[in-house]
């Protein structure tokens, strides 16, 4: 079932790429249909889900050194997979017409769908790595071909930066596998064995490789600089995928590799990681506040929000405080990933709507949109409030859990991190005031079109989930079941 959820979009991408006679609208319809398949399959997996590493599938690839196509889910990866499937469906369904080379565009989107799901479901470190790298290729072509402005430079920077990180991860993976009693890349075996526990410098270096590699993808300060250009110059749906799904690969990797495979070493280095996370929180928030470009501002809030996630993971791996607090922080981190995926995904789609209408992201060129485009204003306001952590919305649930855990383990860091929330609130409110209220400008005269019906459909689907998680998070918390993912006895 999981393999199908991965392979069907990939096969769909190939089919789209090889069918030259397809027209734009047909390609879009076909892509929506294919993108919906994984979501349905994953809902079925969820119904039959019964605790860690369910629905396991295994096909040998390089048996001599313990590499196989291994798929399976626990609560964390299943919830992330579900979120990704939703974000991808939304991105594919987002209307882009008129679109040059539409067929290739939808093929790449489907390719990324399969690749991202494959990454979250992989139970083999090499298969994980394969999908990690493929996500770069897909995003590179999406940004380079359908981006605007300095798209090629941004795409190149993105590719080079993250490839550097991913190769460090590969080195780490190989060392982990070699340090097993018998060389294997099976994640379950490595998690159970937790090798490198007592091997001082080697373990620390491997940890460093993972932190840098996943930190680039997440992205953490100071290796976040690829993110703003990539986001600003990418088309809206690609940004939504980049922020909503691809960034999660970094934090998901931290949970799997740092927290679960190297708990002992991670607990020794949790404090520095937490400090870097807090710096990212503040840096992201302050820099976002200084941006006049709508999309760049949202991009920097991603640095801020992913900082919360990493803080949660670091707290969970700290081996300090109570187990309940650590489980709380990890729950928060996972909910933050999901909430950020849905919320920031929506925000980038909204930013994309601005670009499609006016080819302009400068906030001070806009004003008074509330008067001409009430639906757009409503969606943007809801997403912004969710992003700044308003109670009753998904972001609040996540940040509450993270900070409840963090205050037990690192109270000072948590206190400093809270400043980030204040600034985020300020920057979103300032954005809303500038763009949607205030003076009407030439860019927002009376013909500024409101959201179309399909845009409303996509956004309301994503934002409904944000509200649902905010009001009634229990089903999600049950599914994630972070306590089970915490390393035993850490």
């Amino acid at each position: 079932m999981l393999s199908l959820a991965v392979l069907i979009p990939l096969a769909g991408a190939l089919t789209l790429a090889l069918m030259p006679q397809l027209r734009e609208a047909q390609a879009r319809t076909a892509a929506i249909a294919v993108a919906a398949v994984p979501l349905v399959l994953l809902l079925l997996v969820w119904i039959g889900f019964d605790g860690a590493f369910a629905s396991v599938e295994e096909v040998p690839w390089m048996p001599a050194i313990g590499i196989a196509w291994r798929m399976g889910v626990d609560g964390i990866s299943l919830s992330l997979g579900l979120m990704s499937a939703v974000v991808f469906l939304a991105a594919v369904a987002w209307p882009m017409a008129p679109l040059p080379r539409a067929r290739a565009y939808y093929a790449w989107l489907l390719f990324l769908t399969g690749v991202s799901l494959g990454l979250f479901f992989a139970l083999d470190m090499i298969v994980f790595y394969v999908f990690f790298d493929l996500s770069l290729v897909g995003m590179y072509f999406l940004i380079g071909r359908w981006g605007h402005g300095e798209a090629q430079a941004a795409a190149l920077k993105f590719f080079v930066y993250t490839l550097a990180g991913s190769l460090l991860i590969l080195i780490g993976i190989i060392v982990l596998a070699l340090s097993m009693p018998e060389t294997t890349f099976d994640m379950r075996a490595v998690i159970a064995e937790a090798p490198l526990a007592r091997s001082g410098l080697t373990a620390s270096l491997v940890l460093l490789a993972f932190v840098i590699g996943f930190g680039i993808k997440t992205p953490l300060f100071p290796v976040h600089t690829w993110l703003p250009p990539a986001h600003v110059d990418a088309p809206g749906p690609a940004s939504a995928i980049l922020a909503g799904v691809l960034l999660k690969m970094g934090t998901y990797g931290m949970v799997r590799f740092l927290l679960q495979m190297m708990p002992d070493t991670f607990s020794r280095w949790a404090l520095p990681v937490a400090i870097v996370a807090v710096i990212s929180i503040l840096w992201g928030a302050f820099v976002a506040l200084g941006q006049g470009n709508l999309k760049r501002r949202i991009a920097y809030t991603s640095v801020n929000h992913m900082g919360y996630t990493v803080l949660g993971i670091a707290v969970a791996g700290s081996a300090l405080g109570t187990e309940a607090a650590r489980a709380m922080a990890l729950t928060g981190a996972v909910v933050e990933m999901i909430a950020h995926g849905l919320i920031t995904g929506s925000l980038f789609l909204i930013a994309g709507a601005f670009w499609q209408r006016r080819q302009d992201y400068e906030m001070n060129h806009y004003g008074g949109i509330a008067g001409v485009a009430p639906k757009l204003t409503g969606a943007a306001a809801l997403a912004s409030f969710a992003s700044l952590g308003l109670p009753g919305l998904a972001g609040f649930v996540a940040e509450l859990h993270i900070f409840l855990g963090a205050f037990v383990v690192y109270p000072w860091l948590a206190a400093i991190g809270l400043i980030g929330i204040l600034i985020t609130a300020a920057l979103f409110l300032q954005m809303l005031r500038q763009v949607f209220f205030g003076e009407v400008t030439s860019q927002t005269d009376s013909v500024f079109p409101d959201l179309t019906r399909s845009e409303v459909l996509v956004l309301s689907g994503m934002l409904a989930l944000v509200v649902l998680i905010g009001v009634w998070p229990l089903w999600l918390l049950d599914l994630i079941d972070a306590a089970a993912a915490l390393p035993a006895g850490a």
């Binding site: 050194i65 790298d133 770069l136 490839l163 460090l168």
Partner: protein, 472 residues
Amino acid sequence: MPVGDLAPELAVLLTAVGVLILAMFLPHRHHAACAWTAVGGLATAGLFALDQLQESRLTFSGTFALDGATGWTRLLILSATALCVLLAPRWFASDRRHGEFYAVLLFSTLGAMAMAGAADLMQLVMGVLLSSITGYTLAAYHRNWAISLEAGMKYFLVGALANALMVIGVVLVMGMMGTTGYEGLAGRPMTDALTLTGLMLLLAGLFFKLGAVPAHAWMPDVAEGAPAPAAAFLTVVPKIAAAVALIRLVQLIPAGDSAVRLLIAIVAAATMTLGNLAALWQTDVRRLIGWSSVSQSGYALMAVAVAGSAVALPALLIFLAAYAAANIAAFGVVTYLRGRTELRDYSGLFGTRPFAATVLVIAFLSLVGIPPLAGFVGKFALFLAALEGGLAWLAVIAVANSVLSLVYYLRVAAPMAFERREDTPQTLGRSAGLATVVAGALIFILSASAGGLWSGANITLLPQPPVEYHSE
């Protein structure tokens, strides 16, 4: 002396002679028949080689190793050559010496095979010389074109020096150790100054064939100036042979003696770094591929530096196979597009020649090591071997280089994908297209089948040193 042990080599030799005779008697317009004869001969040789794949012994009085390494390398060399032959017919159609090209190519193949299987220094030198002399001819085959002549000339000058030094090295080693047979050399300490000097000179000769620092200078010139099918051959086949010859030679050195292995590791680091830095600024696609070939030699040397460990040889073979497929695919596209080589000629290719563009991008991504392409499996195996052998620093340098290499591969790929052009470039013949597509498909097939090859294959490397090499 069982002549049958050399059946693949003999098949290539006889085919070469046959092709030469054919080329003399056939009218020029039928010279393409020589190509098909060559392919037939290579296929026959391949069948003989397949038959001997499970052997593991020395033959011809210990001068030739009939083991897994030779077996797989023979297959690799033969298939790579066959693809290069397929690239050639239309390219040379107007060349007066069209048919002879295949004969020279086959003699060069024979030299490469002799090099790969050599278990005696004299035999090794013979293989190197045969492969080199034919190589100069291939590089300068367009004798009326200055750039081709220059390529042949540079190849010859660097090669003559390297080969002369190599012969001196053989003399020194033989004088000090009393033998040139690998069996007699295996595991014996080679620590005195003269033997070490001899060994270094030997290595220099093989570094030349491999295209490694400091004897790499010919590689970009040959890639740029040689006829594109010959460039595909010269950047791939001698390199395969040299890498296998090197690992066989280095394995003889006792494991405790780490100086030579350290030297190889340093050369590996220098070669990959230099190749990549030089490739960054190229505006000529063929030259760029040439420099990238230099850097790929550096990666291959990673496996040589840990020669003796269980994963070193399979890692090297998988890497070489992946490299061969990708490099021939890249040169195949260049050939298919009638040798166009300016970077700007490639912009917008995705729109006008989607299949050629796709193959080129896949070849480049495979050379970077992007999964699930064959190049990834090759690089992954090399990293595994290097890390297991305690060469983590080398693996880290290789990582940095892979990132660097991405930049220049994308300098070609990005305009192909992101720009538009109006005119559709002309192409060259069906057989070149076929070879290109086959090489491109191999990039996928190799990575899917690497696992089976790895676990089931005979991967012996003779002669084994008496003392086992223990990794840290």
